[in-house]
Amino acid sequence: MTESNTVDVIHRLKNHIAIIVGFTELLIADCADDDPKRADLLEVQKAAHEAMAVMPEVARRAGMGER
């Protein structure tokens, strides 16, 4: 994969993660505390935040050199 392809893939990945995080948090905000779906949504949110946290490392390894 060329460097520009790698950059493009990472860009798309970041957009996808942003969409997952954003819409999940919108759903959580509308969820009552006792809603049984809330725990599931919190798991999605947790995983999405973990994905966010590893993105700088992914970018670094791909040579994007995030500052």
Partner: protein, 132 residues
């Protein structure tokens, strides 16, 4: 900013799901939100005289990238607050080593709170409009 009306935010992003997400997050906080799918449409809306208080500009758009869109409207709107949203923060720092007063950036992916706080900081100078 017009009195008695909530701030008007223009979201410019070529990814419709990102635009919708940002609009819904901001509308939940009481902001009025307009959307544009690209830099050319964003410039047209700003030059059209719409009283936009804050522009949220995706940097990575085809045809007219976010920083070029802002350059094109700076003469007409030198006071416009701008939040650059980008998955390529390096690119912004390469082309804009220094941001203007009233400009900030938000790295994608971001949380709803991150977006709310960035917008509030630019418009009100505090993390929450409620703490003005």
């Amino acid at each position: 900013m017009a009195k008695s009306q909530p701030p008007l935010v223009l979201v410019v992003d070529d990814e419709p799901r990102i635009r919708e997400m940002e609009r819904r997050i901001l509308e939940k906080r009481g902001y009025r939100v307009l959307e544009a799918p690209g830099g050319a449409e964003g410039v047209a809306m700003l030059k059209d005289g719409k009283a936009i208080d804050l522009l949220i500009a995706d940097l990575d758009m085809p045809e007219i990238p976010g920083e070029e869109m802002v350059r094109q409207i700076r003469t007409a709107r030198p006071d416009l607050k701008v939040l650059y949203v980008t998955a390529h923060i390096d690119r912004l720092l390469d082309v804009r080593a220094t941001l203007w007063e009233g400009e900030a950036f938000l790295d994608k992916p971001f949380t709803t709170r991150g977006l709310e706080e960035a917008v509030s900081l630019l418009l009100y100078g505090s993390l929450s409009p409620d703490s003005r």
